[in-house]
Amino acid sequence: MILKYLIEKEFKQFLRNSFMPRIALMFPTVIILVFPWVATMDVSNINVSIVDRDVSTMSRRLSDKIAGSSYFNLTEYTDNYKQALDDVEKGKSDIIVEIPQHFERDINTIQHAAIQISSNGVNALKGSIGSGYLQNIAADFNADLGTKQGVTVSTPFSVNIQDRYNPTLNFKLFMIPALMTMIIIMLCGLLPALNIVSEKEIGTIEQINVTPVNKAAFILSKLIPYWLMGFIILTICFILAALVYGYTPKGSFLTIYAIAILFVLVMSGIGLIISNYAGTMQQSLFMMFFFMMIFMLMSGLFTDVRSMPDWAQDIAFFNPPRYFIDTMRSVFLKGGNMMDNSHNFIMLFAFAIMTNAWAMLSYRKQV
């Protein structure tokens, strides 16, 4: 019963603040409409500059092959390396291919010539994928060369590539389900914790502490409004994703909401732990910033956990958002069900118990 009055109070305070409701609405909009465009590692448009020092039929043929491939845009075809380098420095080009002088002559006489690929390492992924493609093109070129000369250089074979779940290789489809994680981290973890700490700092919590309000009721009154909002905003995100990108999960919403409940519990547990230890907002902010950094960077949100070195993977093992992100992607893209993600459910369940037990133990109404 007491809870009712406390929750009523939270909602009044939230709505009175002209600022918070607006932020709460802006949040999903930005996450769904802006982030996917920024958080993209799309490497499909690799710009290439070709420095052709030979200018022969054969060098032209190789250049055409590169320019004609679907992976590359030819930005410059020149015989001047300086100019190509300038393109790279200005960000117009990602990769330089140098065809040496006497390229054609060498192939005809000594059967061998070397080209130089220089990629702009500032975008490492583009650089490595681009040079990989170029090497494949060079191999094709060799095979053609052999065929033309009547020598079979390689066993003929053909490969067809099928990209399952995301045939258009759209990076946004990969990011959108994961970005929704941030809503739960922010709304169900950080905001209630900050709210509690701010009552501590202003002193209103003292007044509440001398009333018969018990621990659980007070904490629940802080959490429930944010839980509700978390789910409402998550739902708004699903609707926006469907409207704007025509993107709906292949799997069931039941799985998504089930994992979201577990994840919400974990995050609010962590938020409570922080609020128990922090005396001032500034302190809690630092702790949160620290956690946020680990949460976001080591969860596979941006870069694959499996590519990390072993020690980092060990840390990532204890990183709850990772399991949520995994499940979201699995359900959205692959149509994964609870069984497919049982591992993630178990891990988050364990985290939920651990963090909330810790939060309970560290909470002191009496100082």
């Binding site: 993209t40 059967q111 990629s119 490595s128 493609y133 170029l134 060079a138 700092e201 990390m308």
Partner: protein, 365 residues
Amino acid sequence: MKTLLSLIIKEFKLIFRDRWTIMILIGMPIVQIALFGFAITTEIRNINFAVLAPQHNETVRKLVERIDANTYFTFVGYIDQTKDIDQAFRKEKADVVLAFKSDVGQQEASSNGIQLQIVTDASNPNTAKTESMYLMGIMKDYFSKANIGAAGVTSSVRILYNPQLKSTYNFVPGIMGLLLLLICAMMTSIAIVREKEVGTMELLLVSPTRPIFVILAKMAPYLTLSIINYITILVLSVFVLQIPIVGSLFWLSVISIIYVFLALAIGLFISTVMSTQVSAMIVSMATLLFPTILLSGMIYPLENSPVILQYVSCIFPGRWYISAVRKIMIEGLPLHYVLTEINVLILMSVIMITLSLKNFKHRLE
């Protein structure tokens, strides 16, 4: 001057008494460098591949052996039926499946050769692209070497600016831009708003100290901390990550000082507008933190964003600072390449200072 000094000393004592805050503030750049320098990599490794082969003949086995020998790939087993591919992907047992047709034997003898299919789990498009690219490379190599020795064009790869191909070169400027902004703008704004919220601001303002002194004293410790961080980051990146400062250290520091100045002005401005710490924090996060992380090229290259967002990014100071740092520190370009950045930062500082002073006076009356 004396009052200012004693106020500053008071603020320093306050902050340094709080061990947690100091630990996190000093430790932040170290952790970030460790994460970005060693943990976060866009390189794709540990690829699990499975093979769908109705007929395990010599060719199949040899090719599997060859791919397994590659450092990127690990063979996880054979799959019997096409429909099991989906299961393997969903349970995350395999990332890519190499599928042979049931008549591999006949195909080999025919003139068209072997027909293969690469099926990727393309949830992550880049992983999928890389996987099929690597596989193609290995197979091309395998099938050509299977016949005669190498001939024709060979290629060697060289990486400009970033020989180790780590994402390192992108994130050091990003971390600098982020931390300096975070500490100077976000922390000062919260520190000042806190006084307002707790009610001690009134006390300070009615005391004989000039209000601007109060504010300056609040900023001093954060200024010091950000200089410590600046030095830490540079030392770590030179000695631990082995990223040399190619350009001029002097100009790098000058630009950083302008940036810190701007950050302090922004912090002051936020604190004059906001009345609670929570709102000051959310505003700083929304206008400073996220844009700096996302538009700095720390993780995602800015040029991948749509043009509109690239224009939007121009209003965030972090973008200009990071671009200047990148040019001077990593590409070693001379000063005239970063004049635009410097001018924009100075212009922004002037605007912010004017706005916040105006606001500040207004609030006092």
